[in-house]
């Protein structure tokens, strides 16, 4: 079916152009009106096309829209063209919906900022790029969105550009992402030269893929690994996760939108989109699962000890993204996307809630100076609590369904293993601990802020609390689209995405994995109860250390001070990268310039000039202009030549 899908990304683009070109000439009301309406329209058009899609039969749920030819070069041919299938439909709705809510929230949050217009300009550009990313019908156009959101992330992290740490963080984000994009580019090259196309329709057609790639072969493994490198950059996985915690330098709504709900999930989307290719590369699948689960526990452990409220949430995001990759790695792509969606709701809510707190605290982000905010900011507190319950996986809330599905699939899938499950489970415990630690430190206990701040504590305005409430509702109900079979549901979410997950159904193991997953009812139930109990235990521990017996937390910290130092110092990975990569690069470059360029090459050339100059100077006396000397030399020459002729002739 052909529909004008371009209408979805069009309006944010118009908003960006209007606000950007008229920057400084529009009032605040007009700016936010343009920005919010444009994203709202995107959401409405997204809904419209979503219902169009639903009206189609299951197997034919594809809406296409070819716009124009972008790059034609011989057999290489790429269009600017859009594709709406169940997967991109989910993404479009999540992206435009959450974006709209956060745009509204930003009206309140950024109200007094001097860069109000610039902020909304960037934000609209972001929404446009993100929609391009998820709607693209080929890898190259996806890459446009991919780098476009990276650019917006760069601009918005460094939004307060006068702060060095902010512009540093923006630059770091861009460069680390570029390392990932390097992989993405090379992955695309392999895909193009093997399948002859970058269009999803061709390159991701199981028949085409199986005709050009051997399952488990070097080419497909290389291509998928390189694409995965791109995903680790964008979605902040080991080894390229380092930019995301620093990205918290940006305004908090940006952290919510870009660095929690949408952009950072692009890698998960890309891998789910490419499931046909990934399912052909078991080695890559293993790497994805291991990297995912390792990132989950690694980042989760860092979050345990951070004091900055946004940093805890940042590491939590990295950790939750790890879950999504774990899901992809064990061939449970829909579970990954499911968690992507629920995470978008509750993590956006957590960030916006923390923004509300920071707003009230006049910019303070250190939880050691908070406490007791529960009664001061009731709406913020209750919505925040709901999100916390959702992320920890309390039954009945959205996070429970999605996280549990991932844990179950990592246990039961043929691609999974008990170890992946176990690490995922421990991470769930950690999540419960650090999230409740955060809640207790911020909202409970005594008020530890200075008196000036205390006087100014206030609940945020409606323009901020209403978005919180909407997200809270979504965080509760978001999971009900995917109730597992074991709990009497029929996992409609998975079924909806099924037509896109051709790779899973094409491979025999995949089918087998799904079948065995469906049949192990009792095990699934036991594991589910087990994880809930574990989460409850960790919540109690957080309660014990941060409410009941605060001294115990300090004692614990002292007893394991070495460990605490390492975790608090984030395993010193930034320092390691700096020492091993950044510094040698800078020093080496200086060496190349000063020694190679200036000393050797130019030295050689200037040296030649000097030598020639000196030789000329040496020869100069010969051109004395004194006739007598010339005659004498001439005479001597004649005599010598004559002599030679006479003697040897």
């Amino acid at each position: 079916m052909e529909q004008p899908l371009y209408l979805i990304p069009l309006f944010p683009l118009i908003g960006f152009l209007l606000n950007g070109l008229l920057l400084g000439r529009l009032g605040k009301k007009t700016i936010s009106f343009i920005a919010c309406t444009s994203v709202g329209l995107s959401f409405l058009f997204g809904l419209k096309f979503f219902f169009d899609l639903l009206s189609l039969p299951d197997t034919a749920r594809i809406i296409e829209n070819v716009f124009f030819t972008w790059i034609p070069a011989g057999q290489f041919h790429v269009n600017v063209a859009f594709l709406l299938d169940p997967l991109s439909a989910v993404m479009v709705l999540v992206v435009s919906g959450v974006s709209f809510i956060i745009h509204i929230y930003s009206i309140g949050y950024m109200h007094d900022d001097a860069g109000y217009g610039r902020y909304f300009t960037y934000l609209n550009l972001f929404v446009f790029s993100m929609l391009m990313l998820v709607l693209a019908d080929n890898y190259l156009l996806m890459f446009v969105g991919w780098e476009g959101v990276g650019l917006c992330s760069y601009l918005l992290i460094g939004f307060w550009f006068e702060k060095k740490s902010a512009s540093d963080a923006g630059k770091k984000a861009f460069i680390v992402n570029r390392i990932g994009d390097f992989g993405f580019l090379l992955g695309m090259f392999i895909i193009f030269w093997q399948t002859g196309s970058l269009d999803f329709k061709t390159a991701l057609d199981p028949a085409v893929a199986h005709s050009v790639f051997a399952v488990g072969g070097g080419m497909i493994t290389a291509a998928t690994l390189l694409m995965f490198l791109g995903a680790t950059g964008k979605s902040a996985q080991i080894p390229l996760y380092v930019w995301l915690p620093d990205a918290m330098e940006g305004p908090t709504p940006v952290s919510a939108l870009i660095h929690a709900a949408t952009m950072v999930t692009a890698g998960v989307y890309m891998i789910a989109r490419s499931n046909v290719l990934y399912m052909m590369a078991p080695a890559t699948m293993a790497v994805v699962a291991i990297v995912g689960v390792a990132t989950a526990i690694f980042a989760g452990s860092i979050a345990l000890a951070q004091n900055d409220i946004k940093r805890v949430l940042a590491y939590s995001t990295v950790s939750q993204l790890g879950y999504m990759f774990t899901a992809c790695g064990v061939a449970a792509f829909s579970a990954g996307i499911f968690h992507l969606m629920t995470h978008a709701f509750f993590k956006a809510l957590l960030f916006l809630g923390s923004g509300s707190v920071i707003h009230a605290m006049a910019g303070q982000q250190d939880m050691r100076y908070m406490g007791g905010l529960k009664k001061r900011m009731p709406i913020t507190f209750w919505t925040f609590l709901i999100a916390t319950l959702a992320i920890t996986g309390i039954p009945g809330l959205s996070g429970f369904f999605s996280k549990d599905e991932i844990l179950w699939k990592s246990f039961s899938s043929d691609y999974g293993s008990i170890w992946i499950w176990l690490i995922g489970l421990i991470t769930a415990g950690m999540t419960a601990f650090y999230m409740f630690r955060l809640v207790f430190l911020t909202f409970y206990g005594e008020e530890r802020m200075d008196s000036h701040t205390r006087e100014h504590l206030h609940e945020s305005p409606k323009v901020m609390t209403v978005p919180l409430s909407i997200l809270a509702v979504l965080s509760v109900i978001g999971g009900y689209v995917g109730i597992p079979h074991i709990l009497g549901g029929d996992n409609r979410f998975e079924k909806f995405l099924e037509p896109v997950m051709k790779g899973v159904h094409h491979s025999v193991e995949g089918e087998h994995a799904l079948a065995s997953a469906a049949h192990n009812g009792s095990t699934e139930l036991i594991l589910m109860v087990g994880s809930v109990v574990l989460v409850a235990v960790f919540i109690y521990l957080a309660y014990h250390f941060y409410i009941k017996n605060i001294a115990a937390a300090g004692k614990l910290r002292q007893r394991f001070s070495g460990l605490h130092k390492i975790i608090y110092g984030k395993y010193f990975v930034d320092e390691l990268y700096n020492a091993v990569i950044v510094q040698p690069l800078v020093v080496g470059s200086k060496f190349l310039w000063k020694i190679f360029d200036v000393l050797i090459i130019d030295g050689f050339i200037n040296g030649m000039a000097v030598i020639i100059g000196d030789m000329s100077t040496g020869l100069r006396p010969a051109q004395s202009g004194i006739l007598r000397t010339y005659t004498t030399i001439f005479l001597v020459g004649v005599i010598v030549i004559l002599g030679i002729v006479l003697i040897f002739g």
Binding site: P72, A73, F161, K164, D597, I605
Partner: protein
């Protein structure tokens, strides 16, 4: 008229010089206005030429071929294909823009300066339209003189050193080229009994492989210095840093392309067998250039020399793509020549704009310009992003096609070359951060005037081109495709010939190779 369009576009700037001779040298505004109008009208001629150009026809268009020095078979032979068409457009656009940009920057010797600029334009276009080697050589050398004066007279503190270095480097290369050119001339006479410098005729001459190697090397060295290919690049930073803004724009925008154009017009089609043999050498030097240029750019303290080293890196991409010897690589290479002219030209213009305000180009002297000059900073940002190849800007189309093509011919080269994409982000964003972000630390930067109308007028056309080529490169790619195919078909023939030569010694392999050969052709 249609037949004379190339002559018109080439020599029209000289008309301006004649007009300028009648203007008193104190009437600065008149001199500037005349030069601008002449350059602008020439831009219009070239647009007309672009409109008349048949995008699908192969071979040369608007050909003119009349004897010049008939005793030596020298002809006034002009003609263009899609590649030269685009380079001429680039030249006329940049020439027009620098006339406006030089408005306030040049205060002394105004008349001489604008005469040099117009002379330079004729020289540059002349190189792109010549189809006679002798004529090519004349334009090639003629171009040097005005550039020498532009750097040497209107340049910075070390202008004499830079100007002489520039001329000596180039002359050294051109001397070798002259020798090679004469060798070809006599060789052609030996084959056919005819004296000629005609490129199109030389294309058809079967040159033995041994001789090809030497002639290729002679030409390649001349072109390599001009490009510049690493390690012949050290004249470039000096020339750029010392040259006035307009000089840098033309130098980076067009003059460097003379080298790459020389490769594509002379080396590849005339010596295809030698070209095939030198693929590894040139590719590796190109990769070194990409990485080395980027690394050294990163540690520069002067914005202008940073941009100069970034040119070494970008031109490395151009060479890498060209020597991928396939359609994608070569089209990317040509489009990247244009891109580099636009983006780096714009960067030099931008650097010139702050230099006019602050009289310094040291990165450390800036910081926080976003605050005092938001419009300027926005332009700076857009151009920087195009330079690091962000998708939907021109740089991406070029780099992507280059790397895509390179990947098909040699995966290792492509992987190494692609690291340049990362490094470009490093040096460019770091520079951008230190110049426009951060707090204003120097009081001089606080009350800087933002861009005025003239300066915006200079940058807007370039920004439009940045997005045009980035979003809709089809018109440009389509026009160059026949020309690129033409060159590639010569290289393909050479490949077959080389294979046959090898097979003559071993007839058993012959059959196999032939089969492989046909499979390859079918695949394409």
């Amino acid at each position: 008229m249609e037949n004379q369009i190339l002559t018109l576009v080439t020599f029209f700037p000289l008309m301006g010089i004649i007009l300028l001779l009648f203007v008193p040298k104190t009437r600065h505004d008149t001199i500037k206005a005349v030069s601008f109008i002449v350059a602008f009208i020439n831009l219009l001629w070239s647009i007309w030429m672009y409109a008349m150009f048949d995008p699908v026809a192969s071979g040369m268009q608007f050909e003119v071929n009349i004897p010049w020095v008939s005793g030596f078979g020298i002809h006034y032979h002009l003609g263009i294909d899609g590649i030269s068409l685009l380079l001429i457009m680039l030249t006329t656009i940049l020439s027009t823009i620098v006339m406006i940009s030089s408005w306030n920057a040049i205060k002394t010797g105004v008349k001489g300066y604008f005469i040099s600029m117009l002379l330079l334009e004729t020289g540059m276009i002349g190189v792109f339209v010549s189809l006679d080697l002798f004529l090519f050589y004349v334009f090639w050398e003629a171009m040097l003189i005005p550039m020498y004066f532009i750097i040497g007279v209107w340049g910075g503190p070390r202008k004499i050193y830079a100007a002489i270095k520039f001329v000596l480097f180039t002359m050294f290369g051109s001397l070798l080229m002259l020798v090679a050119l004469l060798y070809l001339f006599f060789m052609y006479h030996g084959y056919t009994g005819e004296y000629t410098f005609d490129m199109l005729k030389m294309y058809e001459m079967p040159i033995p492989l041994g001789a090809q190697t030497y002639i290729f090397l002679a030409f390649a060295l001349a072109f390599a210095i001009k490009v510049p290919i690493w390690p012949f690049h050290t004249w470039l930073p000096d020339a750029h840093v010392e040259a006035p803004t307009a000089g840098s724009v033309i130098l980076a925008g067009v003059l460097l392309k003379m080298g790459t154009y020389g490769f594509i017009r002379i080396c590849l089609p005339m010596f295809p067998e030698a070209t095939l043999q030198f693929v590894p050498l040139i590719s590796i030097l190109a990769i070194i250039g990409i990485i080395y240029g980027a690394l050294v750019a990163m540690v520069q303290r002067d914005v202008k020399s940073l941009v100069a080293f970034s040119s070494v890196s970008h031109l490395g991409f151009v060479m890498l793509g060209m020597f991928a010897l396939n359609l994608q690589g070569m089209e990317g290479s040509v489009i990247q020549m244009i891109n580099h002219g636009i983006s780096t030209g714009a960067l030099f213009l931008i650097v010139g704009m702050i230099y006019e305000r602050r009289h310094t180009r040291m990165i450390a002297d800036f910081g926080g310009l976003s605050k005092s000059m938001p419009v300027f900073s926005t332009f700076f940002m857009i151009v920087t992003l195009s330079s690091i190849g962000l998708p939907f800007t021109n740089g991406f189309v070029g780099e992507f096609l280059i790397l895509l093509g390179t990947f098909a011919s040699n995966k290792v080269y492509a992987v190494l070359g692609a690291t340049g994409v990362i490094l470009a982000a490093c040096y460019m964003l770091w520079m951008l951060q230190r110049v426009i972000f951060g707090k204003i630390t120097k009081p001089e930067n606080e009350n800087l005037k933002d861009l005025d109308g003239r300066e915006k007028l200079v940058l807007i056309p370039l920004v439009i081109l940045i997005f045009w080529i980035g979003i809709y490169p089809k018109p440009f790619l389509r026009r160059m495709e026949p020309a690129v195919n033409d060159i590639l078909s010569r290289v393909e023939q050479a490949k077959v010939k080389l294979a046959e030569m090898e097979n003559k010694t071993d007839p058993v392999v012959y059959e196999d190779d032939r089969q492989l050969g046909t499979v390859e052709i079918e695949g394409e």
